[in-house]
């Protein structure tokens, strides 16, 4: 009888905990908890003041994000807008390829929401503005040779090579002069590695064309090209990765 009561009590606690978990998971993050998450995982790069000047920042490039301006590269929102919480969580959960921003998949959804709430306290933008709605991404058309060929022409027409280089390896004539909004030198992406900071799918590449990367020289092309053209360009960029289907030669190599 006593054992039954103990088991019942344990089960009740478990149910309460699970219920509490489900309810809390739907809520916004708690900045007070987020401060502790930040201290445990983020401080060494992003700094105590959220200024991107933690003890490790001086040794690495690109520099850690300075949160005080509310300016973020990886967004689903239009150029200039704040990112959504989901955008920030994606960056924290998956990390940023090729940088020192690791994946924080293991800390869980709750911790990510909490630390986002704390990060938002570093900039008044979060009090004064709301993120714009995410851009609409139309269904992806066929990723075929015709689309890739069109994308290659757009790459030339839009002068992408000015920064990314004729060989698309991030070595264009302007590549050594570029700086971000904080005055830090910034390198254009090498598009031939098969991995992108924004994510590896054509959809991720499409999103970057249309949203731009706030705080960097990478603009939004939303007002310059149609969604169809953006998909062609995304397919071409995606196809430059090693081992990809229909992998073409970059323009300058193809010309030789």
């Amino acid at each position: 009888m006593k054992r039954t009561r103990i088991v019942t009590t344990i089960l009740a606690i478990a149910v309460l905990a699970a219920t509490s978990s489900a309810l809390q998971a739907e809520n916004a993050g708690d900045p007070a908890h987020g401060k502790l998450v930040y201290e445990r995982y983020c401080l060494s790069c992003h700094g105590e003041l959220g200024n991107g000047q933690g003890e490790f920042a001086q040794w690495i490039s690109p520099k850690p994000r300075d949160y005080r301006q509310g300016t973020f590269k990886w967004r689903s929102t239009p150029s200039g807008s704040l990112p959504t919480v989901a955008d920030l969580e994606k960056t924290i959960r998956d990390g940023v390829y090729g940088t020192y921003m690791p994946t924080w998949y293991t800390i869980g959804h709750r911790a990510r929401l909490d630390v986002i709430a704390y990060i938002q306290t570093f900039s008044d933008r979060w009090k004064e503005e709301k993120p714009d709605p995410p851009i609409q991404i139309p269904p992806e058309p066929a990723n075929d040779q015709a689309s890739i060929d069109k994308g290659q022409k757009l790459f030339v027409a839009l002068k992408c090579a000015q920064c990314h280089g004729d060989s698309a390896q991030g070595d264009g004539p302007s590549s050594h002069e570029l700086k971000d909004d904080w005055g830090h030198p910034i390198e254009p992406a090498d598009l031939t590695k098969g991995h992108f900071k924004c994510g590896d799918t054509p959809t991720d590449v499409y999103r970057v064309f249309m949203t731009g990367l706030n705080g960097t020289p990478m603009p939004s092309f939303a007002s310059q090209i149609s969604p169809s053209d953006a998909w062609d360009l995304a397919h071409y960029i995606w196809s430059l990765g090693p081992g990809r289907v229909n992998h073409p030669q970059p323009p300058n190599i193809a010309a030789k």
Partner: protein
């Protein structure tokens, strides 16, 4: 004769406690220097892993974001770290036989320090390694505690197929080499009922084993398995094609609950068998190593659970592990029975949400209960043990270069009937040290 044997057993127990009770512990600032992360990112309270640290280790010391290949590491990065803990230790042991009667021995002083030299990193993408010479105390002895190479994503780029080759710690429910306690071993990992035969007391789960580990895990290492096949530690060997086989299997499943009240729950289980020879060719009556036959096994199996109360970033983490052990009667000599016992431990670790995570508190209760003594006429409860440990750690400073902390710990272990006259033997230790790694 009975008195002499009991006294020798008592002496061996004390010596074993004092000499072997500080398993080399691992915390690796070289990884902090490489990744830019502080120790708190991978350790609840160093050296105890959190989920991130466990995943980092299972992934072969890789973040998998294009920076793992050695050519991508910072030029100044050097994959070497050192950990050492200068400390004062005060020990007491009661019920000691002297010409002046039964006495309690007490002694203390700055302990002879042992150092962990931790060398580890990546040889290539998906190829990592660890080499750990440890010792360097005034006796000059250096033991190669670990040496292994670990291939990850061996088949179809899957995290479920990884292979480690070399001397490694088997995947224990709670790592003995990353124990928060610096003076007490987990009793269940190395316990054997009392015997006169060395072979009966050889197998220890917390000894690193030479062999191959197959392990796999999901993203985040929340579901994971490990199977090790090895030559059992400290075996004099056999004439078999594969000397003194040992097997170990472990499974763990974690559930992240995204709750502040209970943030994570885990269950798991393990089983192991290690074989030792019981017959030998002899020279001048002494067994010749490598000529053993008639392998007999020491077997262990157990269950585990753990729960993290409160948020994971300021955890109140509770582990409970229960195990049973059986040593074949042949390991104990003629006319012996199988040695059987059960035991376990309950461990607590708390990092309060104050003062920038600089404080940590821990405690542990270990027990051993013998259920069948191998030697006839031995009281069933001989060497039943109750071990209590309590301690705190105050980390003065966290950097991604080093970490140093005040470590204070007290432990006491009561071993039933183990004094020279059959009374209980109690060994207690107080430890105050500066634990640092760089």
């Amino acid at each position: 004769m009975r008195t002499l044997r009991a006294w020798l057993l008592s002496l061996a127990a004390v010596a074993g406690f004092v000499l072997l009770s500080a398993p080399p512990a691992q915390a690796f600032p070289a990884f902090a220097r490489r990744t830019g992360l502080r120790c708190t990112a991978c350790h609840e309270l160093w050296p105890v892993f959190d989920d991130t640290g466990r995943a980092f280790r299972d992934n072969g010391y890789q973040m998998r974001l294009g920076k793992d290949n050695p050519t991508e590491n910072p030029f100044s990065y050097w994959p070497v770290a050192i950990r050492i803990t200068p400390n004062y230790e005060y020990d007491t042991v009661n019920n000691q036989e002297t010409d002046q009667g039964k006495k309690t021995f007490k002694n203390g002083g700055i302990a002879d320090g042992a150092m962990d030299l931790l060398i580890g990193g990546n040889l290539n993408n998906n190829v990592s390694y660890l080499v750990v010479p440890t010792g360097y105390a005034s006796d000059g002895v250096v033991n190669l505690e670990s040496f292994w190479v670990y291939f990850t994503r061996v088949i179809k780029n899957s995290d479920w197929f990884n292979i480690r080759i070399g001397k490694h710690e088997v995947d224990l429910p709670v790592s003995a080499h990353r124990s928060i306690s610096l003076i007490n071993p987990y009793l269940i990992y190395g316990y054997h009922p009392m015997a006169d035969n060395d072979a009966a007391g050889a197998f220890a789960l917390d000894e690193n084993q030479r062999g191959i580990e197959f392990m796999g895990h999901d993203r985040g290492s929340l579901t994971r398995y490990s199977v090790s096949i090895f030559n059992a530690n400290d075996s004099p060997g056999s004439r078999g094609a594969w000397d003194s086989r040992g097997y170990y299997a472990h499974f763990q499943k974690y559930w992240q609950l995204d709750s502040y009240s209970v943030s994570e729950v885990e269950v798991g289980g393990f089983l192991s068998s290690a074989e030792y020879p019981t017959s030998f060719y002899t020279a001048d009556g002494e067994p010749i190593d490598g000529t053993g036959t008639n392998l007999k096994s020491s077997e262990r199996w157990g269950l585990e659970t753990s729960a993290t109360f409160g948020p994971k970033w300021t955890p109140f983490h509770v582990w409970a592990v229960w195990a049973q052990g059986k040593d074949d009667k042949a390991l104990y000599g003629e006319d012996a029975r199988d040695g059987k016992w059960n035991g376990g431990f309950l461990q607590l670790l708390w990092v309060p949400p104050t003062d920038g995570l600089h404080w940590g508190f821990f405690g542990r209760y270990d027990y051993i209960r013998n259920s069948q003594q191998p030697l006839a006429g031995t009281p069933k409860s001989l060497n039943d043990q109750d071990q209590w440990t309590i301690g705190m750690k105050h980390t003065f400073a966290f950097f991604n270069r080093d970490e140093y902390a005040l470590h204070v710990e007290y432990s006491t272990n009561k071993m039933k009937g183990m004094a020279f006259d059959g009374s209980d033997l109690t060994v207690s230790s107080t430890f105050i040290g500066i634990d640092f790694a760089f």
